[in-house]
């Protein structure tokens, strides 16, 4: 295969094929079950830091450096991926979900392996008191959750030794990557995603992050993009500086990023993402600006103001004409979540035109309420107005997304999904509905496979289905 063919295949893949749809939202909701994803000492339910100081959250920032999700994992995210997600090789286990291991079919791992005993507490030396904070620290449960003074001091237990097993709890440098190889019906194996990330965390409250990799083709309709203006197939995606880990996990970041809007499902072909210029792989969807927010349990809010990126963006800070703003907020409980988002973009027509988008997101995690129901349901509806590329006339679109996941065992997840899109509400018979099903197998920490089948049901045409197999490695 020539390099040209490889690039073309990658672009095709980025444009058309599903990525693992389970990543962030499902794991986030599921995190409500696995105690030591948040609790410092889950075996004793002892959580000395006051609530606003904890690093604990059910939002994206719990597992990813990017507050909006995706890409480089935090130490908590790495720990979660190693201890809870995979079928095999999870040496460091939380108390909950012990019985959900595939290996339990063959032997009682809980009894056999000392390393599977209660996690954080088991790693703390016997001579260390359970409360590792300095003498005179405030009482663990010291009042209301929110609206603490801004400078309340740092969290004493956030980076407790042994809290994350063998992982470095607070690294100065962090590296990560995602590689996804896909196979679509009878085509060849091709790269879908090849991203590398790095972050520098020189002092508390400051992180710089950069990501680069294969980039998808620009989202613009080919009618209004000049010939020869294809994007580079490889390049910088994100580059920003952030001050964070303030009370209630509040943060402020500057640079080039994908603004927070709706639920960032990993499937970039989901109509709620692609249809609204929010696909992660597309550099044209990145913006250059400032964003602030918080996501301590359980409410969350973020707001951003930005300039759009140029289509090519060889220089990460090369911006195009226009401006935009996005606000997203809501409440993520252990058993349910509800949120809303608004985004405005005001651009020249050749830069994408004006858009105004509204989103409602919800989730339900019956697993939290009843052990016998290991299901997670997530949904979102997005409505927005936009300008048609050539005429500039305004119209509207509506997209929805539903996902129901059954975690049969750790690392074994069956999914049902259903998404719909009416891309132009003024045009009749252009709607499409797309039911699908998938099986995710996370074999080992950092390695999984998935199989997806989808059926496209266009209003004015015949149904068409596809099958897609994916191999995903990450670190």
């Amino acid at each position: 295969m020539t390099s040209h063919q490889l690039v073309r295949a990658a672009l095709l893949a980025a444009l058309s094929l599903p990525a693992l749809a389970h990543a962030l939202p499902l794991y986030t909701a599921r995190a409500g079950r696995t105690c030591d994803n948040c609790h410092s000492l889950p075996n004793t339910w002892f959580d000395p830091p006051e609530v606003t100081q904890r690093k604990c959250t059910l939002s994206c920032a719990g597992c990813h450096v990017d507050p909006g999700g995706g890409g480089l994992r935090t130490v908590s995210g790495r720990y979660y991926a190693q201890s809870t997600v995979p079928m095999f090789g999870a040496e460091h286990r939380p108390l909950q979900d012990q019985t959900r291991e595939v290996m339990d079919l063959f032997r009682n791992r809980y009894v056999d392996q000392p390393s599977s005993q209660p996690t954080s507490g088991a790693l703390i030396p016997a001579d260390r008191p359970l409360d590792p904070r300095p003498p005179g620290s405030p009482a663990p449960d010291d009042g209301p959750v929110f609206f603490r003074p801004a400078l309340h001091g740092s969290s004493s237990m956030a980076w407790l030794d042994g809290r994350y097993g063998q992982l470095n709890a607070d690294p100065l440098l962090a590296f990560g990557g995602d590689l996804r190889l896909g196979w679509w019906n009878q085509s060849t194996v091709f790269p879908m995603q090849a991203d590398l990330y790095t972050s520098v965390h020189p002092v508390e409250h400051l992180t710089v992050l950069a990501s680069a990799g294969i980039r998808g083709r620009n989202r613009g309709l080919p009618l209004d993009v000049p010939e020869g203006d294809d994007q580079d197939p490889v390049g910088v995606k994100d580059l920003w500086l952030m001050t964070h880990e303030w009370p209630a996990l509040s943060y402020l970041r500057l640079g080039r990023f994908l603004p927070i809007f709706g639920t960032r499902v990993a499937d970039h072909t989901a109509y709620i993402r692609r249809g609204f210029g929010l696909s992660q792989e597309d550099p044209a969807n990145r913006v250059v600006g400032v964003e602030a927010g918080f996501s301590g349990n359980y409410p969350y809010l973020s707001a951003s103001a930005f300039k759009p990126s140029s289509h090519q963006a060889r220089d990460p800070f090369d911006v195009a004409d226009g401006w935009g703003t996005a606000i997203s907020g809501g409440y993520r409980e252990l058993g349910w979540q509800l949120g809303g988002s608004v985004m405005l973009r005001r651009r020249p027509l050749e830069g994408g035109g004006d858009t105004t988008d509204y989103s409602v997101q919800w989730g339900f995690n019956p697993w939290y309420f009843w052990e016998g129901a290991p299901f997670t349901y997530l949904g979102e509806a997005v409505y927005g107005t936009y300008q048609r590329a050539l005429s500039g006339n305004e119209t509207s679109q509506l997209a929805t997304y539903h996902q129901l996941a059954w975690t049969a065992y750790d690392g074994v997840v069956l999914r049902l999904r259903y998404d719909t899109w009416d891309p132009d509400r003024e045009v009749k018979d252009d709607e499409i509905q797309r039911p699908g099903a998938g099986l995710d197998l996370q074999w080992l920490p950092g390695f999984g496979t998935s199989v997806d089948g989808r059926v496209g049901l266009p209003a004015g045409g015949n149904a068409g289905g596809d099958v897609f197999v994916q191999i995903h490695g990450y670190f």
Partner: protein, 119 residues
Amino acid sequence: MARIRLTAFLLALLLGGCAAGDGTLDEVDPAAAPANPTWSDPVQRVVDVYCAGCHSDDSAVGAQHGYAFDTCDQVKRARGAFRQSTFESETMPPPAGFVMPEAAKLTMKRWFAQGMPCD
């Protein structure tokens, strides 16, 4: 009555499959696509994005089902199958993976209607 309308609206929002629209794109906004499209502007780019990924001698998967759309002449030779699958049955591009925008479809239809000029 108001409760029924609200329920219907919420169901439509949840399922999203409700039909809407006043007419074809050609009827509601004729200027949404070029009036006189040619191969070089912008038909080739439309074909490249929505077709040539699987139907090209140069693609990773080759010319699927024997159709290559790298040149204007190749598209013209396959115009019967192209029209049937793209405009009539709408089985291409594969609906589970792609949604070809109405403006792109309208462009292609006009190009076909004008004799598929290769300039």
